[in-house]
Point group: C2
Chain length 402, copies 2
């Protein structure tokens, strides 16, 4: 059969998702999975969605069920433009493009900005799904030196020399996937000044920004250099991922090309879904709903922080995230999170090995734990098991000669 079909060169670079394969493993009944970044299903506003489906199909069925504009549903675009004002952004609804989840935003950005071998800068580590979205467009990934606050401004200063023609830097300023880290105001300002000085525009991905625990979000990166930034947002973490609704906010000069890419990709995001979500959120629903998600996730975060402190062997390192969905653990020397995964699954828990999140030089000692899918009780149980698996693995490491 391989003789009938000739695949594109880019197809050879696309590989099965490790996360996807892991999610399959974690379908084992009863497993305590801290792997997938699945929002707690208890937070889905089922009644509000049910009422909105009924209303849209009672009042606007013909429009909601027909083909629609590629840009998206106008009132939803207006809502988004108004909403991001809180992040210091001053954008027109004409700059908002509704996407089929923010994953599609990444695909469209890759499609219009990436050429084979042209550099694309990413954080170290970075969101695996972004690497997967950009990879088919064959960029050359540059892994920006990063610390617990995100990428270092100095790393941008080196780009014009080390990677001339870098098309963009892909950044997640809030509760980053996978590390949970957040960029301080000073870091944001320094990074954006350095990006601008280096002439490297920024793709800002902000799926977790609303999930803060103690302090509301800082101004977005895009607010600091609007004409050099594309902002990606999502309804997956504050309402439901099952509706696949996200958005792009783009400079006016780039918008038409993103719109053409969107139209070629799937004509438009389901109009029904857009109208239902707009119906739910239009009168301030999120202002009541999201605090409940925050409170729940904060309690989960606390449960995991307590469990990690109690159960993880000496030598493990982590920071307690100030929002979002993830802890990022670095294991003691001699341990390999990927190699340990089968043992963990045997012991009825799952996590994501951190190596998958690196564009280059993966650190095998890292892992990502989600604290949002399980209850605090099950988190405590899962982390206890993790502590035991790690302890046994450490004990099995042969003594090295000094």
């Amino acid at each position: 059969m391989s003789s009938i079909w000739t695949q594109a060169r880019r197809a050879a670079r696309m590989n099965p998702s490790i996360i996807r394969e892991i999610l399959k493993v974690t379908e084992k009944p009863g497993i305590l999975s801290m792997a997938g970044g699945l929002p707690s299903a208890d937070t889905f506003p089922v009644d509000a969605l049910k009422a909105a489906c009924d209303k849209v199909l009672s009042e606007n069925a013909k429009e909601a069920l027909q083909y629609a504009a590629s840009e998206g549903f106008a009132p939803l675009r207006e809502w988004v433009a108004a909403r991001v004002k809180a992040l210091g952004m001053d954008v027109s609804p004409d700059q908002v493009l509704i996407t089929s989840g923010s994953q599609q935003g990444l695909d469209l950005v890759g499609k219009i900005l990436c050429d084979a071998s042209a550099p694309v800068a990413v954080e170290t580590p970075t969101y695996l799904g972004a690497l997967q979205a950009f990879t088919p467009y064959e960029p050359s990934f540059i892994s920006l030196a990063s610390d617990e606050q995100g990428p270092l401004p100095e790393a941008f200063a080196r780009l014009p020399h080390d990677a001339p023609g870098t098309r963009f830097a892909y950044l997640l300023p809030n509760y980053q996937n996978p590390t949970g880290r957040v960029m301080s105001l000073e870091r944001r300002q320094a990074v954006m000044a350095a990006a601008k000085a280096a002439g490297v525009p920024v793709i800002e991905d902000n799926p977790y920004g609303d999930l803060w625990f103690d302090e509301p979000p800082l101004p977005s990166l895009s607010s600091m250099w609007p004409e050099g930034s594309i902002y990606l947002g999502s309804f997956s973490k504050v309402l439901t991922p099952g509706f696949r609704l996200g958005f792009i906010i783009a400079p006016k000069a780039l918008y038409p090309k993103l719109l053409q890419a969107k139209q070629a990709a799937d004509l438009h995001t389901p109009g029904f879904n857009q109208r239902v979500v707009y119906e739910v959120i239009k009168n301030g629903f999120l202002d009541e709903h999201v605090p409940k998600i925050r409170a729940r996730y904060k309690a989960n975060r606390d449960a995991m922080a307590e469990g990690l402190k109690k159960h993880l062997p000496a030598g493990c390192e982590w920071q307690s995230p100030k929002g979002g969905m993830f802890f990022w653990i670095r294991l003691p020397e001699g341990l390999d999170a990927m190699a340990l995964l089968p043992k963990a699954v045997d012991a009825n828990i799952a996590y994501v090995p951190g190596a998958a999140f690196y564009a280059a030089n993966p650190d095998p000692r890292t892992m990502r734990l989600s604290f949002v899918t399980l209850t605090p009780e099950l988190i405590a149980e899962g982390v206890a098991i993790l502590g035991r698996v790690l302890g046994e693995a450490l004990a099995a490491i042969p003594e090295t000669t000094p």
Copy 2:
């Protein structure tokens, strides 16, 4: 701003959709649009969808609103595999990939099969949306010589010599968009034998197959060469386009790569939409519903056929389609459908100039008329206006010296 962003080479080949621009023009209130391929909104099964939304959100909300498998909802994939048996296809649910409309199927196919400059063969003329989906992957389009039954088998025989390495031929066997033509059984067999002999696999796009008026569909092209065919289907024309649901059926060897492309593009098609549609169709709903659409569209087809016969000036040529949504008109010498469009819009009607549907050597004398959006009465009115516009244009052509 252009100095900040460097666009991908492929972006330069992407252009605003003429159809999209035309749809904008036709938003003029009260215009009689025969332009867009919009299914009649009166056929949308609103009550069935409302009941299904309620049922899914009452019984399976947590699953329907959560992230889901990239392959699609398993029962829906099983339904598709069973459904295409009627077209002579013997496929496993494992070969079915649910897509965000069949437009996304085209994008995914382009992504894994098209390289810059590699030939892709298309009918003359062909579906504009497919040209738009493939174009970002920079293929070199080959326009297959075609007649009123579709592409000529001889055109395939020439491909190995004229366009070696042709990645695939993109074919629409049933009530083709834009021409409305259908491939006879003999033509299907001859084309698939010729494609196989030439070593050129086939992408079969069948959004209109269920919309037959007198004779049920012939066996699919894919049934004649399963390992050399990808089949694309859609729920847009038999249920609603607003849910954006389509599917790909692929040979098992190609499926994993399409799945990776799907995951990178948008993770998965909305699980909610898949479950709602499955809930509507699982017990034979389409067997009652689609005949109603057929009867309506047949009456519309008859109204347009009668109007064209009555009102179009001598020298216009067309065939009456046996299904689908479109008439394809060829105007007398000296007329240009694109140049006439502003006059038509002034006269309160719209159509799509046929030139947009050619990969090469557009025929400016062609136009596409949809007969499914308007009622028979408005079709009669619209065609009468078209006849007047064409008559006036013909009268304005200066006499040429013999």
